[in-house]
């Protein structure tokens, strides 16, 4: 096994932080190149006019998923060492809802607001400020909501456990969902273009 590098002790915390900055800059660059530095473009998704966000994000998920599956099969990565965030059903549903409301209202998600801010967009800076304030408020209120935060724990839940399917079957299922999604997205965008 050769990866994950950090878990296998190939580099220390300092190097890991440095690499995180490099990867973060790369991530931001590609977000910007995909046009995600514009809240107008991002908000178009919620009106089903421009589904670039959906297509880019789903493509990233599929690329990573297929990459991890086959790299593991070829023996280059030990998937058991890849950390899976534990599921806390109700708090995560509430968090997801809050995130969605923030996304619709502000037109940015946490990553894209940083991209917008550094490319000089005022709404990006305001969103970023809101996000930082939210983090501080959350931190300060944490003792009050810590019980809720760790309620309904389901452990490191994966789709193959939920559906009782093999990893490979879940991979195929998600790819099929994505392809159907891309097809639907293209149709919706074409309909919108013809209506203009």
């Amino acid at each position: 096994m050769h990866a994950p590098f950090y878990q296998l002790g190939l580099f220390n915390n300092d190097t890991a932080l440095f690499l995180a900055v490099v990867i973060g800059i790369g991530f931001g660059f590609f977000l910007e190149q995909a046009g995600f530095g514009s809240s107008v473009k991002l908000a178009q998704q919620f009106y089903l006019r421009d589904l670039t966000v959906f297509k880019v994000m789903f493509s990233a998920i599929i690329t990573a998923m297929l990459g991890l599956f086959w790299l593991s099969w070829l023996g280059f990565i030990d998937l058991s060492l890849v950390r899976i965030l534990p599921t806390y059903l109700v708090p995560q549903l509430v968090g997801g809802l809050l995130f969605g409301v923030g996304f619709v209202m502000g037109g940015y998600c946490p990553g894209t607001c940083c991209v917008a801010a550094v490319t000089g967009k005022m709404d990006g800076w305001i969103h970023l400020l809101g996000m930082i304030s939210g983090i501080i408020v959350f931190g300060e209120l944490f003792p009050l909501i810590s019980d809720f935060y760790s309620s309904t724990p389901l452990g490191e839940l994966t789709l193959q456990q939920v559906f009782n399917l093999s990893h490979g079957s879940v991979v195929l299922l998600i790819v099929l969902v994505a392809l159907a999604g891309y097809y639907g997205a293209e149709k919706l965008e074409a309909r919108h273009r013809s209506m203009r």
Partner: protein
């Protein structure tokens, strides 16, 4: 065919093959690997090995899975109190060099087994548990009549013992003789007290 369609087809082929392959690991040899580790005694560290590595400054995460009363009464320096349930909740990083200990060896071995099933690769138990640690590291004993080599070894053990806050026991020749005569005279053979100091081989046999 456009690039998008080409990529979509490539992705679909990989996904279909994934469904045929089933699992991303080529063989599930977890149980066999665990059996091999136990068989080759690579599942544990001896108290001396642990002490020497800690003394040399090696970073080892020590987990005390005894109850809190025992922990606060006495524990290995820098060890953390943790229940087995907490251990399973990923309180430690996979691949982080970790040593588990209990009073003896059995409970820690059970926890070790669970952690191995969760693919923790760099985890060990302490041979003989905390009892073994006390006996071998904290209170090494030198009986009278030992060879020069054994005395030299005892000197090395004394350094380790003091480093970890222990008290080496050096039994003077006279006291040893007296004890020996006393034991010989007053106790029937089958009631002789156990040896004060067990060797690590004996610990291994017990666990």
């Amino acid at each position: 065919m456009t690039l998008n369609k080409l990529l979509a087809s490539f992705g679909l082929i990989l996904a279909l093959l994934a469904a045929i392959v089933g699992e991303p690991e080529r063989d599930d040899s977890t149980l066999e690997e665990i059996a091999l580790l136990i068989q080759s005694e690579e599942d544990h560290m001896t108290p001396l090995e642990l002490a020497e590595q800690l003394y040399s400054g090696k970073k080892i995460r020590l987990i005390d899975i005894r109850d809190s009363v025992s922990h606060f009464e006495q524990h290995i320096f820098n060890s953390e109190l943790m229940s087995i349930q907490q251990l399973l909740k990923n309180e430690i990083r996979k691949n982080e060099l970790t040593v588990l200990y209990f009073e003896g060896g059995i409970h820690a071995s059970q926890a070790w087994m669970l952690m191995k099933m969760k693919h923790y690769d760099n985890i060990y138990t302490l041979l003989g548990g905390f009892n073994g640690w006390k006996e071998i590291v904290l209170n090494p004993t030198l009986h009278a009549g030992k060879t020069e080599e054994e005395k030299k070894e005892f000197e090395r053990r004394k350094t380790l013992s003091r480093f970890f806050g222990g008290e080496p026991i050096d039994i003077p020749e006279e006291m040893s003789k007296k004890n020996s005569i006393h034991q010989h005279q007053s106790l029937p053979k089958n009631n002789l007290p156990k040896k004060i100091r067990k060797s690590e081989d004996e610990l291994r046999f017990q666990c």
